[in-house]
């Protein structure tokens, strides 16, 4: 059976099906639809949704709620991510599971509120002090918005990290036909909690599990949460050995599990000498361009990257095999191209197809600028 839905609706449906029960946000085009839907829908599942006084408070509310055990979501656009920044760092440091939707619009600053962009890609990765890894998923269409929202909740709960869903005005607000079986209800794992009988040490980990077990505020244990460098007990420390352990673990708990986090959609053909790497809305034009090029007898592969961060290097390297030219279309001045460039062998040409005028990149532009016609 088919339905009509926007990416924003798919995200909200995905969040609810993933067990989300808390939302805080602040109005911003083009992310406001998500706020409004959540305000309407969450009370139906006994959840809480609120418009906060600003983006900083939105993040603060979400973080507080997450530490009582809620599955939390917030949604904003680039200028809001700027204001989220300090609390993104806090969520990393305090190991707070949460999903943050960035409905990208054109930047910088207020940029173009109702125009599409993909300019936040590096910002999401590096937009908080300290430089610790985050997970960023990027859906390619409306069903993918649903599917990756479920995945984002799963990864957030599993690793106790903020997970971003980087979408854009075009995918979030365009109404499309969706076949119901395209929506895949990915099971969300529960946060690992400490049992009532056992002693609870808030930030203690084991050699086999780098993620600390959880006990919520108001639960059977006392929880000590801190955003400052801390020991296992959540007490402030400057002890170099403990500080190193903490900081290394915050990175390695994500990086060591990259295989579990990496998601790509690959459409590779044997003997292809050209590979197109894209993400988000640009992938739609790429798929069409590839179809046209193949009809014209070209051997072209394409890879839509769904996990932008950490970079799925293994999957990208595999797709690069035998390729002599890589095309990276993006609605920015070439941000993810930087990641591709560091993965290619010498002599492989990496070509960007870029637009920053608020218009989509068309399949024809990819074909022409990529030298495929």
């Amino acid at each position: 059976m088919r339905e009509l839905m926007t990416g924003a609706q798919a995200i909200v449906r995905g969040a609810i099906d993933a067990g989300c029960d808390f939302f805080a946000g602040y109005p911003i085009t083009p992310a406001t639809d998500i706020l409004l839907y959540m305000l309407h829908e969450l009370p139906k599942v006994s959840g809480t949704a609120i418009q906060a006084e600003d983006e900083i408070a939105s993040m603060g509310f979400c973080i507080g709620a997450a530490m009582t055990g809620k599955r939390v979501l917030t949604a904003t656009s680039g200028p809001g991510i700027s204001l989220y920044s300090e609390n993104i760092g806090l969520a990393i440091m305090g190991e707070v599971p949460m999903v943050i939707v960035d409905v990208q619009r054109m930047g910088p600053a207020t940029g173009g509120a109702t125009t599409v962009g993909q300019g936040d890609i590096q910002f999401l990765r590096w937009g908080t002090s300290g430089g610790y890894p985050v997970v960023v998923l990027s859906p390619t269409n409306a069903p993918d918005c649903y599917n990756l929202t479920c995945r984002a909740f799963d990864l957030a709960e599993r690793f106790r990290i903020p997970v971003f869903l980087a979408t854009d005005k075009e995918i979030a607000l365009t109404l499309v036909t969706v076949e119901e079986d395209e929506l895949i209800r990915f099971p969300v794992r529960k946060r690992q909690v400490v049992s009532q009988e056992n002693e609870f040490i808030p930030y203690k980990t084991s050699p086999t599990n780098q993620v600390p077990l959880f006990s919520p505020f108001g639960g059977s244990h006392l929880l000590r949460f801190t955003t400052s460098t801390h020991d296992e007990y959540g007490q402030l420390t400057k002890n170099p050995a403990k500080v190193r352990l903490l900081n290394e673990r915050l990175a390695s708990k994500v990086e060591d599990s990259i295989d579990e986090i990496s998601l790509v959609k690959s459409d590779l053909v044997d003997g292809a000498d050209i590979l197109i790497i894209s993400y988000g809305v640009t992938s739609l034009a790429v798929a069409e361009a590839v179809q046209i090029a193949r009809q014209a007898g070209k051997r072209v592969s394409c890879l839509a990257v769904q996990t932008l961060w950490p970079v799925p290097e293994k999957e990208i390297r595999a797709a690069l095999h035998g390729v002599r030219k890589v095309i990276v279309p993006e609605l920015n001045l070439g941000q993810y191209r930087l990641e591709v460039e560091r993965l290619v062998r010498d002599g492989v040409e990496v070509l960007g197809v870029n637009r920053v005028d608020g218009e989509l990149i068309s399949p024809q532009e990819i074909l022409h600028q990529g030298g495929l016609l």
Partner: protein, 442 residues
């Protein structure tokens, strides 16, 4: 309440406090402990949220839950905790610095009447970073960042939240013997409470200003700042008000699926891009989505992207619709097959598409907007002269879409009739518009 009497909520192993000798922070922390002992709250149901600064070290001494967050944001974490679990007693400890950087959150927590208690350790300067001035530094006060004296007025923290309807405010000093009672009253208040406690920073403000306890008391008088419980006007606490306001929603299906059963057939054998160019407030987007719904009812795939300026009620409104017998990927339209030009506001927004169109394309244009520059075939639509009812501009788009279906048979008009009947309040007029289109083309 706990099963056993709690004699202290402080971890004796960590004492004495790490604060400088004579600092008010230790005194307030002890008095807060006394208040908690008085109230005998279950430590598992208490969360102490601290801000940045020396006062932010205080949570570590408590054998309750603790949350130490970023500067000025403590009230937001406390709000999130309370919203998510209203049975918890959430107590915020912050300095005058936190009240400055987080003033916006204080004001809104008061307005919202969220059930958290804010205890301000107010010593007129930033202790932790080296004695800089804060929002409460008295005028003329010497701090490391006001070497020639403070020029800015002292913020009245209690008044600030009181004018924004805080349900409980109180002001006192760390020397006050009855402080535990005042803190207990604040914690017991169901809504938002704030207690502003004036105290000494013996490392900075005291030596820099030859300040002492009696000067602290006299500066309260000089400013005309009253002490004691200043405001206690209970009103509905936010989480309770929220639960009441959403009570009827519980159990309703959230984001239910709206499957569309294809009941009609379409003969369309290739992808077709159409653009509807109109003006804001003329139902362009909503009519386009009804048209899309009708197409799905006819077993087609669709996409609809809307373009409009940030101003919602003025300027252009353009919808780009793709119909296709197959799944649609890329949703852009460079060269439309059909363009409906209904209002002059839409003309500039579709100019390049009009230029791209060739002889194969059709433009249905409001005859008042003719002539236009395009190679496409132009079909004039005369709305105004034909019928007084048709002068209602918000139905022009429905009329034009119906006319398009009559001419092209992309999908049956009956599918469109079914789609436009979906929302009862508009159904009659929408159907009248379709009937009008039938007469117009006859």
């Amino acid at each position: 309440m706990t099963d056993q009497t709690v004699l202290s909520y402080l971890d004796e192993n960590l004492l004495p406090f790490f604060f400088c000798p004579g600092c008010g922070h230790g005194m307030i922390t002890e008095q807060l402990n006394a208040a908690l002992v008085k109230l005998q709250l279950d430590p598992h149901k208490v969360v102490i949220v601290t801000d940045i600064g020396c006062s932010g070290l205080a949570d570590k001494y408590f054998t309750t839950n603790a949350f130490h967050g970023l500067h000025g944001r403590s009230v937001t974490y406390a709000t999130g905790i309370k919203l998510a679990n209203p049975e918890l007693k959430v107590i915020v400890l912050m300095g005058d610095g936190g009240c400055g950087i987080g003033g916006h959150h204080l004001i809104n927590a008061a307005r919202r009447n969220i059930g958290v208690t804010v205890i301000v350790f107010n010593n007129f300067n930033y202790g932790m970073t080296g004695g800089e001035h804060s929002v409460t530094t008295p005028m003329g006060g010497l701090t490391s960042s006001t070497p020639f004296g403070q020029l800015e007025k002292t913020m009245d923290i209690c008044q600030t939240v009181a004018v924004n309807s805080a349900s409980f405010t109180a002001r006192t000093t760390s020397f006050e013997k009855s402080l535990p009672d005042m803190l207990a009253a604040a914690i017991q208040n169901e809504g938002f409470s704030l207690v502003d406690i004036w105290e000494l920073c013996t490392a900075y403000y005291v030596p820099n200003n030859r300040f002492n306890k009696s000067m602290l008391l006299s500066s309260l008088d000089q400013l005309g700042f009253k002490t004691g419980i200043l405001q206690h006007t209970p009103r509905a606490e936010y989480t309770q008000a929220y639960r009441e306001s959403v009570a009827l929603q519980a159990g309703k299906p959230a984001m239910p699926a709206h499957p569309i059963q294809a009941r009609y057939r379409s003969d369309l054998d290739k992808r077709m891009g159409m653009v509807i160019a109109g003006a804001a407030g003329k139902k362009i987007n909503s009519a386009a989505s009804l048209f899309c719904r009708a197409a799905v009812l006819s077993n087609l795939w669709v996409s609809q992207r809307n373009d409009y300026p940030v101003t919602v009620k003025s300027g252009h409104s353009v919808s780009e619709v793709i119909l296709s017998p197959e799944q649609i990927g890329y949703t852009g339209i460079t060269k439309p097959e059909v363009l409906l030009l209904l209002f002059k506001e839409g003309l500039p927004a579709v100019k390049s598409q009009l230029d791209m169109m060739d002889e194969q394309g059709i433009v249905y244009a409001n005859s008042e907007l003719l002539p236009i520059h395009t190679r496409a075939r132009v079909v004039p639509l005369g709305f105004k002269k034909s019928d007084t009812w048709a002068a209602k501009k918000e139905y022009w788009v429905i009329i034009a879409l119906a006319r398009l279906l009559l001419d092209t048979n992309f999908f049956p008009l009956d599918a469109f009739k079914e789609a436009v009947s979906g929302r009862a309040e508009f159904a009659d007029n929408n159907l009248r518009a379709i009937e009008f289109a039938l007469r117009l083309s006859a």
